[in-house]
Symmetry: D2
Subunit: 283 residues, 4 copies
Amino acid sequence: MKFQVSCELQYEVRMPTTFIFNILVSRTSSQTVLEETLTTNPVLPLEEFTSQNGETRFIRLQVNDKIKFTISYKATVDLHYNMIDPKHLLTTIPVNKLDADVIPYIFPSRYCQSDKLQKLAVREFGHITNAYAKVSAINEWIYNNVEYHPGLTTSSTSAHDTITERAGVCRDFAHLGIALCRALSIPARYFTGYAYDLHPPDFHACFEAYIGGEWIFFDPTKLVPANGLVKIANGRDAADAAVASIFGNTTCMVMNVKCESLEETFKPYYIHDADKQKGLSYQ
Amino acid sequence: MKFQVSCELQYEVRMPTTFIFNILVSRTSSQTVLEETLTTNPVLPLEEFTSQNGETRFIRLQVNDKIKFTISYKATVDLHYNMIDPKHLLTTIPVNKLDADVIPYIFPSRYCQSDKLQKLAVREFGHITNAYAKVSAINEWIYNNVEYHPGLTTSSTSAHDTITERAGVCRDFAHLGIALCRALSIPARYFTGYAYDLHPPDFHACFEAYIGGEWIFFDPTKLVPANGLVKIANGRDAADAAVASIFGNTTCMVMNVKCESLEETFKPYYIHDADKQKGLSYQ
Amino acid sequence: MKFQVSCELQYEVRMPTTFIFNILVSRTSSQTVLEETLTTNPVLPLEEFTSQNGETRFIRLQVNDKIKFTISYKATVDLHYNMIDPKHLLTTIPVNKLDADVIPYIFPSRYCQSDKLQKLAVREFGHITNAYAKVSAINEWIYNNVEYHPGLTTSSTSAHDTITERAGVCRDFAHLGIALCRALSIPARYFTGYAYDLHPPDFHACFEAYIGGEWIFFDPTKLVPANGLVKIANGRDAADAAVASIFGNTTCMVMNVKCESLEETFKPYYIHDADKQKGLSYQ
Amino acid sequence: MKFQVSCELQYEVRMPTTFIFNILVSRTSSQTVLEETLTTNPVLPLEEFTSQNGETRFIRLQVNDKIKFTISYKATVDLHYNMIDPKHLLTTIPVNKLDADVIPYIFPSRYCQSDKLQKLAVREFGHITNAYAKVSAINEWIYNNVEYHPGLTTSSTSAHDTITERAGVCRDFAHLGIALCRALSIPARYFTGYAYDLHPPDFHACFEAYIGGEWIFFDPTKLVPANGLVKIANGRDAADAAVASIFGNTTCMVMNVKCESLEETFKPYYIHDADKQKGLSYQ
């Protein structure tokens, strides 16, 4: 499944500022980067470094002068995903069987205060025994109970706010999904990427839950097809995977994001539509 | 309907301390105090003052020495309540028809942050058109979704906490009920009193919503009969009507509370049981 | 001291909406309304009602059609204030000597969670024995530690947020001042009014603390002279005294506010400048 | 520097429960485990796994029966620490020079909401240029402004609570120190261990800040000597390094913790006492 993604970000810098960008697509066993270019205008020295597991790739950029600059990225990516029969997603892996590298994803994090949502999660979803059905119910609940409303929330907004205030954007929806899963001891992680057919175009945030030994994809916004996501990063939450972490003083002037399918035969798959019972995993 | 109520509170005082007690039963058009005695041991000078509407009666007590003291109160009260046909409770009084003295009860207060719960309240209850049915649904929702669990919450706990953490005591249940009503522009106020058949015996907190021109009684804990409450105070929330507001340093050593019916024919009326459709008002 | 104040507010209404405006100047023993006019365009029926003590005057307006309308108010006011020698402001009135009508102002309220700030307030200000010096220190601390920054806070922002986030507007500054006073058992209340020499012109929010038997004026923003305030309302906090409480769906299109001195000899008095030691009271 | 540490924890289990314990001392380049024994009574199968960097060692234990059990651990450890001349600690490493594995420690986490404390941190500590002096000032500020008060906080308490409520235990002190450092772009991490001369004996929590290329030790409680800590774990905060994470229903009945020096010549070094200017690092 080939996609071409790109982004162009322009900043006006007012004092020496360090940027850590999270815009490069990740390299995973199921996502191959066929071609990519990263440029800045004017030309600025930049440095790439990766997360501990080597998948997520960060760009660090130091700007010392008062300038405007543009960072542009373009990549062609071949990605695979699996459609998984729900028969294989029946059971939650109990905590005592989880792999060590999955365990961090059952603990609360900055924007996903699962420890505060346990009674609520058990009341709402505790009676559902099938693990995939349980997370699907969480996803559906968020879609039905939280208003997609750009402009109301900030980068400090967390699942603990959203469960009460019931409004937000993709990032807030994902954080709430993650928090509710973890409150039920289901590992869940943040997923940020380029999304096919997102209007208006932007980076997108969703989440993955660990069910039946697979990281299954969920998107409580239901804004895009589930099979059109090119992954940038996973993380515990947006604290691990912000598009841009900025240390200094700057304003973002322009943000253009694109994600196009390079295959005529690409068939968008909307989980909520048709065949609700099938899970989708990017790994 | 005659009740005998009493309480005995013992404190150990460690530095000069001012107490404002809210333990005297209120004098309203529907609640007559037939007899009452208030004593302290040792004898301490105390002062009674009333709220602006003259109904709630506070006791102020200054203790300057390091002593233990007991304050004891006993009253015989004759109270009336009305059972109201739901036909008269069909409509919410719109804000533009509310009496000026009711308006303060649509605004948020310390423990009832209705401004933060508007979207949630509209999603959950906005579709119910009948006003009495709407508040009954709020009452039922709290009963079903919040765990009665002494010891988890403190005097700083508010509706904004309880809507997420889903556990608390009568005070927390009442605050949440009030906040959800106000979020829907239904005036609601805190009600504290002596309660018949409460186990273990204690002061009790409930709420009243203003429907069809009447203050209708609700108790989301469902712990006591609705017709066995002897009112101590109304207020916006517990900030107006705490049993004891203490300025200084002291420990409560003993708290005994009682509420007994003086009529053999008294029939407890449980709203949630039988005849759910009938409203009850103490005014 | 004569002032002329005016405001003009324009709204676009999209569904039946009730407005409660708090824009009329209050009538108190020290503030006389010499002349005033209130009009709406188009002409709409409106109703005035007052707070329990009769000082604050609210306007209620019901708009049922999809229209734009303007509400305009203009008043000439004669007001008195007292400059008070700090000798009379030495002592905090202890809680056991407070008049009953002052007591509500020692309790926490929606935007002034004084119960959560007690240890902080005692640490920062508890060592100051003179009551006026204590509240002056609170005022100064807020001025020095909170950034005046329009646009960061909302109508849900409270003192509990501001003490941590350290940014806000006049309303947030006032709430924090009130909360810190109450945390030290000093009664404090919200004060909203028209302010001379405020740039850009707007309604202004400040606070009053009850010291030596007087309500002493404080303004931690230091944006305006202390003797140029024409009072609209007092209240526990902005929940009691919002400029406009709106039940419905509308957008404010225009807001013009003015406050001019009608006396050539008017001398602005800046508390923080010159003669810091003198208190000012509007009652 | 040889220490003998031990702990004994007893639990009563009421339903199938998974335990993840964090009680084994960590294996680092500067901390060698000479001898250790871990037992349970009754004998239960347990599994050890390590964090991604291999230093922190977790024990996972599954109990399916309603039993009481005891887990006991004892270790002899040889540890090294460095006293570092402040000349080497003059400068904060700017974000653009930080190693990739340190970067996660500048981001906010569950209990350390540094994003919310930036203005406060800059106001209080931003003027201090020397990095070590800056974190020392943070440490001192916490010691002076937060009351050590067991019993007021819970496992949900975070730095965002403590900065306002000003009371807590070692864990809360550490979280606040970490949050304030990160708010100033100084990497900081949680440190939990066995502590010499802690009364009453317990596990202890402190923090490390990354200054001049070293992880420098800080303890805002000032309860123990800085050179008597045997490390169990590092992490972003207590979410990574809780003594016991429990999935199920159980009660801790007994907790005994010990930490003794095995060297007669051991000289406790109290940072706050004598030679304030010297930093101490365990790595």
